[in-house]
């Protein structure tokens, strides 16, 4: 579904992302982890054609992302709150996104019904603009909006961050259900190793812009990741000591 070839992104001579090859097949639930500055958001921005690659390309369903806009029809995403139109109510925002994805009001309403639990009665029928909702609720609205229109690719950047415990658990099951649908490819980035191992069937670790691990999730994955991230510190301590 998504093929990355020789992708490099440089800022002022510093390479922030360098992926020689990455292949994400259709229907996979893909997890991306890494420390701050590893290149996760850069990768997603490149995937969504929000920034230009220095070299290389990304192909989304056989369409090169920076050459044509056709991939936008089947790709949806939620990166952060700036993806929301603050002066709309959540309903208006959902309907607006629905219109862009050829869904009429009834379709959108039907979808929103599934998330009644998730919304906890705090999003719909509140007569509040998105900008007046709490950060957590804004995030909930944004994440659900990315499900509108039966997208084939869903990209979520750190969806678990800043959500309360109940919401996190609910979100995990939502993403797992979504991933179970074999037509939908889900890409999730996270700082939370536990969540990402529970939700994703494949985990890629980025460090300083390069892929350092590419694991098929199993029982041992969590331990492996924890060891890697703590081991890194040990490794760096050794460097500074010597």
């Amino acid at each position: 579904m998504i093929i990355v070839e020789n992708l490099k992104k440089k800022y002022v001579g510093i390479t922030v992302l360098d992926i020689e090859h990455l292949d994400i097949p259709k229907g996979q639930s893909f997890g991306l982890v890494g420390n701050n500055g590893a290149g996760k958001t850069t990768f997603f921005s490149l995937l969504l054609d929000l920034i230009q690659p220095t070299t290389g390309k990304i192909i989304n369903n056989q369409i090169q992302v920076d050459q044509s806009e056709v991939w936008k029809k089947h790709t949806s995403s939620f990166i952060d709150e700036t993806f929301l139109i603050g002066y709309l109510t959540p309903e208006e925002y959902f309907y607006f996104i629905g219109e862009l994805r050829n869904q009429n009001k009834a379709d959108v309403d039907a979808l929103l019904n599934n998330f009644e639990d998730f919304f906890h009665g705090e999003i719909l029928n509140q007569r509040k603009y998105l900008r007046d909702l709490s950060k957590g609720n804004q995030k909930k609205a944004g994440i659900v909006a990315s499900f509108i229109g039966n997208p084939e690719v869903v990209i979520l950047d750190e969806p678990f961050a800043n959500l309360d415990p109940t919401t996190q658990i609910r979100l995990k099951s939502i993403i797992k259900d979504l991933a179970a649908k074999k037509e939908v490819t889900v890409l999730v980035s996270s700082h939370d190793l536990i969540h990402v191992t529970e939700v994703c069937e494949r985990i890629v670790v980025l460090n300083k812009g390069e892929i350092v691990k590419d694991i098929e999730t199993s029982e041992a994955t969590l331990k492996e990741l924890e060891l890697f991230f703590s081991g890194e510190e040990e490794f760096q301590e050794n460097i500074s000591a010597s």
């Binding site: 969504l48 054609d49 929000l50 920034i51 230009q52 806009e69 936008k72 029809k73 790709t75 949806s76 995403s77 990166i79 700036t82 993806f83 929301l84 139109i85 603050g86 002066y87 709309l88 109510t89 309903e91 208006e92 607006f96 996104i97 219109e99 862009l100 994805r101 509140q126 007569r127 509040k128 603009y129 900008r131 007046d132």
Partner: protein, 489 residues
Amino acid sequence: MFKSFLKLQWKSFFRSSSMGKSLGIKIVMGFFALYFIGMMAFMGSTVFFLLERAIPNSDPLVILSQYLMYWVLGELLFRYFLQKLPVMDIKPFLLLPIKKSSIAHYILGRSSVSFYNFLSLFFFLPFGIVLLIEGYAAMHVVFWLMAIIGIVLTINYINFIINKSERTLVGIGFLLLAVYGLEYFKILPVKEYAGKLFYAFYDNPLFAIIPLVTAGLFYYLNYSFIRNRLFLDASLQKKTAQANASDLSWTKRFGAIAPFLQLDLKLIWRNKRTKTQVFMSLAFVFYGLLFYGMEDMGMGSGMLVFVGIFMTGIFLMNFGQFIPAWDSSYYSMMMSQNIPLRKYLESKAMLIYVSIVFMFLLSIPYVYFGWDALAINFSCALYNLGVNVPVILFFGSKNKKRIDLNKSAMGNMQGISATQFVVGIPLFGLPMIIYGLFAFFVSFEAALIVLSVLGVVGFVFRNKILDSITRIYRKKKYGMIAGFKEQNS
């Protein structure tokens, strides 16, 4: 403590996002400030002699005193719109070992050295000096000046209290009109009474204490108000207004651009900055009166073309200039969605077209100044429709500065750079030159016809032109996304 606050305020002023980073803007602002100061000082020193000549055999101070009432009311109005209260971000200080009273005193003290207070002083001080030179009693003049300072400070602190209340604004405006009306229709000699009141400050120096006392009173009122509100939940929590979800289904008749039209209409209506701009634009229909009223502006003058373009195109300029920037906070989202850029731009263009027609209709009463006026405005409107809309959209593509929709429009320099001033040149300059050339070499009518034809041609080819503009926007996409992400540009 005061010094530390001052240092912080100084840094925040120069590092603020709404200062406008570019040196050019700062210089322009500096010039404006100097201009106003110079004007005030000039007026202050000459008004004495002007009054002497205008109304002979009377005491200019008495005459001035009569108008002071208008001044007070006018200042309140003026400050309501333009004076920004020195709101300090109080939150960081609540956790530190700083006395709340210090914070409150600092906020109030800072406002007393505001530019607006000094502006008035730049008028009254020269006037006072002239009085001294002309032989008025020195002691009396000095106390009179002190009274004036007291009045200025009182106005300053009153403004603090009423600043957010629209009702008081309307009340003051109404009062001003009523007082002027009473005087104009000779119902009540309000000016005389007020004049006697203000003259009393000169006559009896002891009265000068009154304004100083009122200043102190309002200071104290504000102080206790602020001091008691320095809690996290008191004044710092914004009141969230009830959202009015509007249907706007009448936009469906516009076809594919309907969702964007709806979005833009909501954008304009639900955000402070855009909403104020719409009202300001409407008010500008009176701008032409300044020019048409002047006798020395011949009917064939190029300035009238400027006025025509300005009045019919006010919304075009205010809104069109920042077109992608209005959506800057969520531009990334728009770009990652399946949004046909063409339709996005088309809906913005549609709004501007409607505004031009609307402003033209509003300007029809200018036919009072003659059919020529109507003809000028009509051809300017056509020119705006066909030529200036693509021009402004083109300049919009150069826009890379973020705009925060929630901040008010008055005195808000966010998003403004030197480009904004450069845009004016082709927008106004070009039609004025075209008009000037044809009016001079051929005739007035020919010039208007040329402008109109250019407009019509541009409008007829608008689809093609919009296509090329869309291409430009597409090319500039990355730069715009990166620019809009910068929070402090």
